[in-house]
């Protein structure tokens, strides 16, 4: 069985400050890890993924994520937050073609 935990329901940061949204996972095989963003009343949009290789992956809108195998984590990061980054963020793990999502973290960036 696979699972994803997003320990923070809400993350608040000031515009211009760095942000981190946390994710830990559990999977029996090789971890394929994803981050998606959801704006109100919209579907999810893909941000980035880790498949193999470099532990730091870069994605859309200046986001990046760091894969840490020993800590089974895949935290989402951005060096300088924008108000427009405010949204709901989901971490997901995929194995045998099936995706399991976390319950999401609401990011609020204040001006």
């Amino acid at each position: 069985a696979q699972s994803v935990a997003q320990p923070e329901d809400q993350v608040n940061v000031a515009e211009g400050n760095p942000l981190t949204v946390k994710c830990t996972y559990s999977v029996s095989g090789n971890p394929y890890l994803f981050w998606y963003v959801q704006y109100p009343n919209r579907g999810l949009q893909f941000l980035l993924k880790y498949i193999t290789g470099d532990n730091l992956v870069k994605g859309s809108y200046g986001f990046e994520a760091e894969f840490n195998k020993s800590q089974t984590s895949f935290h989402l990061k951005k060096p300088s937050a924008l108000v427009s980054d405010s949204a709901l963020y989901f971490c997901a793990v995929r194995d045998t073609g099936k995706s399991t999502f976390g319950d999401g973290t609401t990011l609020t960036v204040k001006p």
């Binding site: 994803v4 919209r42 579907g43 999810l44 893909f46 045998t96 099936k98 995706s99 999502f101």
Partner: protein, 115 residues
């Protein structure tokens, strides 16, 4: 840019009525998924198709839910009869294949309210 199309965007119905949702995936995407997202939670898989075949419907409440993808392109998800607990966002997604290294492309969703 190619998108996953879903309709209707919003549906309000009374319990015991029938409801249907439609999804048209990105052209060429062999794998299609239906997810249910309850407010405050992440999406949960209801059914996954590979072309016209169901590959996973283990979480689909088969006494009231049905899904089909007859020609391996667009898909319909039906609920009959609807219950109050079915109120949720129903998301359709597609991917080029069912491989684990591929990301999902989601539609805008269909929000169902059962009164």
């Amino acid at each position: 840019e190619a998108e996953v199309a879903q309709s209707p965007r919003y549906k309000i119905t009374e319990k015991s009525q029938a409801v249907a949702f439609w999804c048209d995936p990105i052209s060429g995407h062999a794998t299609l998924y239906w997810y249910r997202q309850i407010l405050g939670q992440g999406p949960e898989l209801l059914v996954q198709f590979q072309d016209e075949s169901v590959v996973d419907d283990s979480q689909l409440p088969k006494d009231r839910f049905s899904a089909e993808r007859l020609k391996g392109v667009d898909s319909t998800l039906k609920i009959q009869p609807a219950e109050l607990g079915d109120s949720a966002m129903y998301l359709c997604a597609s991917s080029l294949s069912g491989r684990s290294d591929g990301e999902l492309f989601f539609g805008e969703g269909s929000r169902l309210t059962v009164l």
